[in-house]
């Protein structure tokens, strides 16, 4: 895919994922909406890192390290969100 077209597709995917997460978050608050919003957030972060920041071309584990760190951060937020109703 040409670079310009790749950037268009990346933009479209992030905007589409944002619209879905807003619609889902407004209409279906709760654990499922939380999981969906955070999973889509990770997908959007990956698209930015890979295609806007070009980390897909970088050697040395930077891409995997950053994506892993973001996944860990979101997993902790998700875990705290899910145990809330259990301890409350």
């Amino acid at each position: 895919m040409r670079d310009s077209a790749r950037l268009h597709v990346t933009w479209g995917l992030i905007v589409g994922a944002t619209v879905i997460s807003v619609a889902f978050g407004v209409e279906a608050a709760g654990p499922i909406a939380t999981v969906a919003a955070l999973a889509l957030s990770w997908v959007k972060a990956r698209l930015v890192l890979d295609h806007f920041l070009d980390l897909r071309l970088v050697a040395g584990g930077w891409r995997d390290g950053l994506l892993g760190g973001i996944a860990l951060m979101l997993a902790v937020v998700l875990g705290l969100g899910l145990i809330g109703p259990l301890v409350g």
Partner: protein, 192 residues
């Protein structure tokens, strides 16, 4: 002899050398991600301790404006990526500056929408000291907005001197600001 020294000591950047732009920008990017990550963990922990306060706070946030701002900032990042692409394709400096100008203009639009949102919350009586939810909301979105404002200044500096390294370094900062909002927005506005 200098060629016998490790690359880091001899003036190279070691593993940072493979990243686009100036390696020091990546030190800043990783530092900022850690700071905002700590903010988001603190937000999630506070929500665990004060669920009713956070549910009430989230209920009065405008998810539509937050979503609109996400689209604005992603579009701004797209313009910044196009500026880098234009430089790699050998485009004239004027074309690169147009992409950077579009990116900065959308950054300004983000700040205007954020100002509208904050004034709406203030009109409802919500401020920095209202409760723990709004304290964290204003601190986190305000800190992020300060980064957007700094990013606009950086884009203007890059537009004045659009060398390949300046472009990659300045737009890397801008994409980091974009990335942080993509993480902050769902956690603050959509979950809980």
């Amino acid at each position: 002899m200098i060629e016998d020294l490790p690359e880091e000591v001899a003036g190279g950047w070691g593993p940072l050398s493979s990243l686009p732009g100036n390696p020091l920008m990546w030190v800043l990017i990783v530092s900022e991600l850690l700071v905002f990550g700590a903010f988001l963990w603190g937000f999630a922990a506070a929500r665990l301790l004060h669920p009713e306060t956070f549910a009430a706070g989230r209920a009065v946030l405008d998810q539509g404006l937050g979503g609109l701002n996400t689209i604005i900032l992603v579009s701004s990042g797209w313009c910044a990526a196009q500026a880098v692409q234009a430089e790699r394709n050998g485009a004239a400096a004027a074309a690169i500056r147009r992409w950077l100008g579009g990116s900065a203009a959308l950054g300004l639009a983000f700040l205007i929408v954020k100002g509208i949102e904050w004034s709406h919350e203030a009109a409802l009586g919500h401020g920095l000291t209202s409760d723990v939810f709004f304290t964290l909301f204003f601190l986190m979105t305000g800190f992020h907005a300060a980064h957007v404002a700094l990013g606009i200044v950086i884009l203007a500096i890059v537009a004045a001197r659009p060398s390949p390294e300046n472009l990659e370094t300045g737009t890397a900062f801008w994409h980091m600001v974009d990335l942080i909002w993509l993480l902050l927005f769902p956690i603050v506005y959509l979950t809980g």
